[in-house]
Amino acid sequence: MSIATLELEGVTVRFGGLKALLDFDLVMQPGELVGLIGPNGAGKTTAFNAITGVYQPTEGEVRVGGSRVNGRKPHQICARGVARTFQNIRLFRELSALDNVRIACHARAESGFFDALFLTGRHLREEARILSRAEEYLEVMGLGHRRDEVSRNLPYGEQRRLEIARALATGPKLLCLDEPAAGMNAAEKVELMELIRSVRDRFGIAILVIEHDMRLVMGVSERLLVLDHGCTIAAGTPAEVRRNPRVIEAYLGDAYLEEKQIAVPLPEGSP
């Protein structure tokens, strides 16, 4: 068995008295596609932040490619092969689509300030390499025609795709997507999920997806983790999770009932 791409062992994140994430375990093998679901405030994004170094876990250990990354800064964790997108899009708004991706290529650049200021051969080689790589990633995400567009002017769906292109350009072994389909319509969501799967197959990287749309995330992921109030309440294949009564109670409740067309009695006093 190869070394796990990502291992989280008993990770707990506390903010004062609030336990945002409790005793969280997760092992991801190379090339795995895992979904992370749960109601609002369940701790999904906190888990992401603990993985990518934005928050330091209060307890527990995070290992990337077998080595411990607790206490590392986000850019160091990125250099070890973890890339992410953000729930509320965080592109470099005033820069072109190409520059957004080129900045991410910087993580693997070998030239320094000195090279840039004196235009050394190494600098020119690196710039050429970064340019061709960035263009390649734009093509992969179907954004080749948007190359020189300022990213803030892109349509919403394309901004989301550009964020994924940017994350891929850091050369990750693990890609963390934080609600990549948020705000998209049904057709766009299906398209995006197919894209995510094709990215996984093409680059052979592990992907961890946070998603609210149950049907979608169940269709795309091989394994699911369900969080509620910071606790992992279920884990397993989509089919197993779907049958888990705790999940139905915590998260699927409404959707499930609706699907079965069972009338939900309104609480007293509501309009």
């Binding site: 820069l95 993580a107 650049a109």
Partner: protein
């Protein structure tokens, strides 16, 4: 062969610039119009200050108010060296050449000292964001000034006088050229784009693998070193280094220049440094009303064009240059040479 081409590529702007400056200097001396020399030196130094501050305030989006402090570090370092070496000369060289060599040494030391001061101020304070950095750098500028005012070896409040005249159009021109070339090359490199990323979104930049603190410090140090160069040059043009030359107001002046020119635009910084310096000189006739007119001009400009004269645009973004650039491929930074 390859190293030679490499050197040529690195120093092409200077190969073009130095002969032009030398002939300008010669013409100036020949025609005897020394009155304009000091004005031109002031313009050049302000270009150096504005363009270098723009690397921090414009490109990286940090707000530094300490440029005058770094100028002071550079000016006093260079002044101590030229004063200390005043009696010496390299016997195998003509006196003038020997003096200029010592001045080159003094300028290099000024940049190094200011850069070092940049590290000392930058390392702790660049972990902070926005307003905090402004306050720390503001405080640093004042500390430098009061340290100088209280140090006997630095002449206290009267400063160091009797510096030898070393600054000429060639030194100022080459330095301004070097500053612009530095800023331009940075802005089209992956390191420069990392700085832009910090300006746009620090959290995202960090997540995309940019060492945000490290890059902010580097930008800050580069900027400080060039400020030190500017300080050394101006001190050896007016033959004086006093604490009063490097007050908080001086820092603000530079900030005004880059805001007016357009934060993040190198062209804007150059143009507004030139225009404001010459404008202030032209307003000398109004005497007491000079600062009133100056301030009114700034207010009007900010009302009509809040993003500054150039916004974030550059001269080389124009379609004319774009076409040439496309043919020459992305690498050629030599065009920056024309600006100062």
């Amino acid at each position: 062969m390859a190293p030679l081409r490499q050197l040529l590529r690195s120093f092409l702007p200077f190969l073009v610039g130095v002969p032009v400056l030398l002939s300008a200097q010669w013409a100036m001396e020949y025609s005897g119009s020394q009155a304009y020399t000091l004005l031109l030196v002031t313009v050049g130094v302000n270009v150096i200050l504005a363009v270098s501050l723009n690397v921090v305030n414009g490109a990286t989006g940090q707000f530094s108010l300490g440029h005058a402090g770094f100028m002071a570090v550079g000016a006093y370092t260079a002044a101590k060296i030229t004063l200390g070496l005043a009696g010496f000369k390299l016997s195998f060289l003509p006196a003038a050449v020997s003096d200029q060599l010592f001045f080159a040494l003094a300028l290099a030391a000024a940049m190094a000292a200011a850069g070092l001061a940049g590290v000392l101020v930058g390392l702790p304070s660049l972990r902070l964001r926005g307003d905090y950095l402004a306050i720390v750098t503001l405080g640093f500028g004042e500390i430098i000034r009061s340290v100088i005012e209280n140090m006997k070896s630095l002449g206290q409040a009267t400063g160091l006088s009797g510096l030898p005249l070393r600054t000429n159009l060639v030194w100022v021109g080459v330095s301004a050229l070097a500053t612009v070339v530095m800023a331009r090359r940075l802005s089209v490199s992956t390191q420069g784009r990392a700085l832009f990323a910090i300006r746009e979104d620090e959290v995202a930049a960090e997540a995309m693998g940019v060492d945000t603190t490290g890059y902010k410090v580097r930008a800050f140090v580069i900027s400080a070193a060039y400020a030190g160069l500017g300080g050394a040059l101006i001190a050896h043009a007016i033959l004086l280094a006093t604490p009063r030359m490097f007050t908080f107001v001086r820092s603000i002046e530079v900030v005004v220049m880059i805001v007016l020119g357009g934060l993040g635009s190198i062209t804007g910084s150059v143009v507004s440094a030139v225009v404001l310096t010459l404008g202030l000189e032209a307003l000398r006739e109004f005497q007491a009303y000079r600062m009133v007119v100056y301030a009114a001009l700034l207010i009007v400009l900010m009302l009509l064009r809040p993003q500054g004269i150039f916004g974030t645009h550059e001269l080389w973004d124009l379609p004319f240059f774009k076409r040439r650039g496309a043919r020459k491929d992305a690498g050629g930074a030599a065009r920056a040479g024309g600006a100062p």
